[in-house]
Symmetry: C2
Subunit: 448 residues, 2 copies
């Protein structure tokens, strides 16, 4: 514990939150960190361990919502960024750092021919949708009910649909996430049920002449964190080929699943891919990558600039340097090792589920998984949907883990692994969950 | 020159760009850095001096498009960030850094009651527009012709209007900036001529029931970098009070103008303000600030969450720490001193204009100004508009400054000052411009 932390001993999570409430709406800048009765504030973090302002240390299985593939304060990233700091963090000129990083990402992937960096996953998805519209000259996008793709209006529609408004599964309703979203946005979005080939194709067919792109997160966290089937992706791909549309992937979260992203698993490949989170090495980033003839609409050398696009901090040398180092370390061997450890964790947790005798199932892919408080793994958004009672119970489980077992998970009941985790932390997770399952078992049995 | 730079001596700006063209569309991630025949790549930067990969040092008057208020690698910022790096850069929990920074910004401003941090100016403007829609339950926004507000579709409409498509000044056309922008976006944007009270009010009146907010950059760079008049702002303010709409400011660039932003100059104040650029201390950031009853729509504690909003890197402790240190250093005295130096520069350049006897004028506010290749200062976007010939001539001037005088300006002919500049650099700027004016005088006289 360094002196700075000792100095802060008079501060508590509660007192900092009290100050926060006077300056930040609801006391937070990201709803993600909000918890009742107050959020917790980090003093210092190293590897997979996060110490809060009151000196309590917790194991981190959330890794800033999947963005820290090497945990906290990785020495190689800290060193590279510390060096870059001395040489500047942002310029009106270019840096070699952005070129080096783009070369590395293109080398990893068979489908990336050209890249453009932005500042967040939200910006990456927005730029991908706008690029699709330019290339196809069509206005609409299609996306899966329940899928989260950041906060761009078109991308967020129907992300939070619930039984009161989701409508028939043959034609899921197009619902606002944010109040006041213009009707024009809703009119330009088509919603389909993830992994449901027959219904999806029928829905897409109804807008065949107007769809610029079909937007897919290949392992959509909020839908239920289960992978798209190869058949589903092939059906979408074939439909887009026939109908002059693009198939575009949001791999902001899922790029971690394989060396070249979740797309490595499929026979057919996306035209464009949005990335973010882990490729920033812990710093703000987003990226759009894909076929050069499509990306060309962004080319400033063109006679007509079809898609003018800039960004003050895009491709800044801190994010691109940290990202490059993080991705160099996340080589094929590291990806495999991390996926194996994650798989071990899943098996151990399944054993905890059996021992506690609770109706819980696990879905996931690569280095991520999500618990569901139901015996059968969900196969769609509506099956994975948390009723109010289920949400309360998952909160009870996660609060128990956080406060009693000192384990941080994502508020959906998901874990996003980092290479700094070892068997030791996995054992604590499966033991902690065993205790947690036993705690909620009476209520859980009543629910199911 | 450190060893790393010496190692790179075999690399040239041209060879790096050649590599860049194989991986980045058009060889760039931001059109801002593009120049013919190739961009330049930074090796290292300190204060107001930037050295490129070939060892050429230039004075920086662009400061990454106004985002570096203390120039490059400021020791206090480097120290604070270096310290934070050891303790982590991003968490699924909060940090005291975001609270400290929010407190500081609120203290600076009479109109900020609550803040939310995001990752860029683009995200800040998008969140501000969405928040306005929620609060008013109306779909449209009004914005000035030619004004740049980032890359969110609604905010960018008519930013690049030209004589072939801008229509009558009584009702400026609503024009796509990016091809394929849906008609629904255009239908929800109203365009008015900046600083033109009579026409603007008439235009707003035609959409009185539908406008959520009137979006104003109080010193819009692309319109001509001249300030909104107090009368114009009052007229907009009064109109919004009568019509149940919000007056919202984009101060991403202009927050530098006074201690509490350009808004300090006006009798009436905006309901919401978007910030970015300089408040990140050289790191990616954006922020939305304003009245607490409006910001409340973002509050996660509400029974109904009217505006769900999060962001993986929002309020990260690196950007908020660097930003806090930068803003602490940019105190009232520093603001005043920088504005005085900028004013001195303007006077010296006006002297250069007189000596060279060229039809050039200067507009600006606070620590920023822009040259116009015309004798009379423009008072509107259409007067400041660069014809092809004028654009070629400003490029010739800026290329001369960059290549022969080793001076970096923004590609519109603008300078955004930093506190690291001194009289010495100002003298080089006014002398360099004198030489540049003499060079382009024959062509310029022909144009005017």
């Amino acid at each position: 514990m360094n002196s700075q932390i000792l100095d802060q001993n008079s501060k508590t999570n509660k007192t900092i939150y009290k100050r926060a409430c006077n300056v930040l709406t609801g006391g937070v800048s990201r709803n993600t960190i909000f918890r009742k009765p107050h959020p917790y504030y980090v003093a210092t973090a190293k590897g997979s361990y996060v110490m809060d302002i009151e000196g309590v240390e917790r194991i981190d299985f959330a890794n800033n919502m999947a963005s820290l593939i090497h945990g906290h304060s990785h020495p190689a990233i800290v060193e590279a960024v510390t060096d870059q700091l001395q040489r500047g963090t942002a310029f009106t000129l270019g840096t070699e750092a952005e070129v080096n990083f783009a070369e590395l990402l293109i080398e990893r992937s068979g489908t990336f021919e050209r890249i453009r960096f932005v500042n967040s996953g939200t910006e990456a998805v927005m730029t991908m949708i706008k690029t699709s519209r330019v290339y196809t000259n069509k206005p609409k996008i299609a996306k899966a009910e329940g899928a989260y793709h950041g906060t761009y209006d078109y991308a967020e529609v129907s992300q939070t649909s619930d039984p009161s408004n989701w409508g028939g599964i043959d034609k899921p309703n197009v619902n606002r996430v944010v109040e006041g979203t213009p009707q024009g946005v809703l009119d330009d979005v088509v919603i389909f049920p993830f992994n449901d080939i027959e219904r999806t194709i029928k829905i897409l067919d109804q807008h065949a002449d107007e769809i610029a792109c079909v937007l897919i997160d290949p392992v959509p966290h909020r839908v239920g964190l289960f992978p798209a089937t190869n058949e589903f992706i092939e059906a979408i791909y074939n439909w887009t080929r026939k109908n002059n549309a693009l198939m575009v992937f949001d791999e902001v979260v899922t790029y971690r699943v394989n060396y070249g992203g979740k797309q490595d698993s499929f026979n057919v490949k996306p035209d464009l891919t949005a990335m973010g989170k882990m490729i920033g090495g812990g710093f703000p980033i987003g990226a759009l990558a894909g076929k050069s003839d499509i990306m060309e609409v962004l080319d400033p050398r063109g006679k007509i600039l079809r898609h003018p696009h800039s960004g003050t901090f895009s491709a800044n040398p801190v994010s691109t340097t940290a990202g490059r180092v993080a991705m160099e370390l996340f080589d094929k061997e590291a990806v495999l090792k991390l996926n194996v450890l994650t798989n071990t964790a899943i098996h151990q947790i399944e054993e905890s589920i059996r021992i506690a005798d609770v109706p819980v199932s696990i879905t996931g892919a690569g280095s991520m998984f999500r618990l569901h408080l139901q015996a059968n793994k969900p196969t769609g958004y509506r099956e994975a949907y948390h009723t109010k009672e289920k949400k309360a119970l998952i909160n009870e489980l996660l609060d128990y883990l956080f406060l009693e077992e000192n384990i941080i998970m994502i508020n959906t009941g998901a874990c996003m692994f980092a290479t700094t985790l070892t068997q030791n932390e996995v054992d604590r997770l499966s033991n902690g969950l065993l205790n947690g399952f036993r705690l909620i078992k009476p209520k859980l049995d009543q629910l199911n």
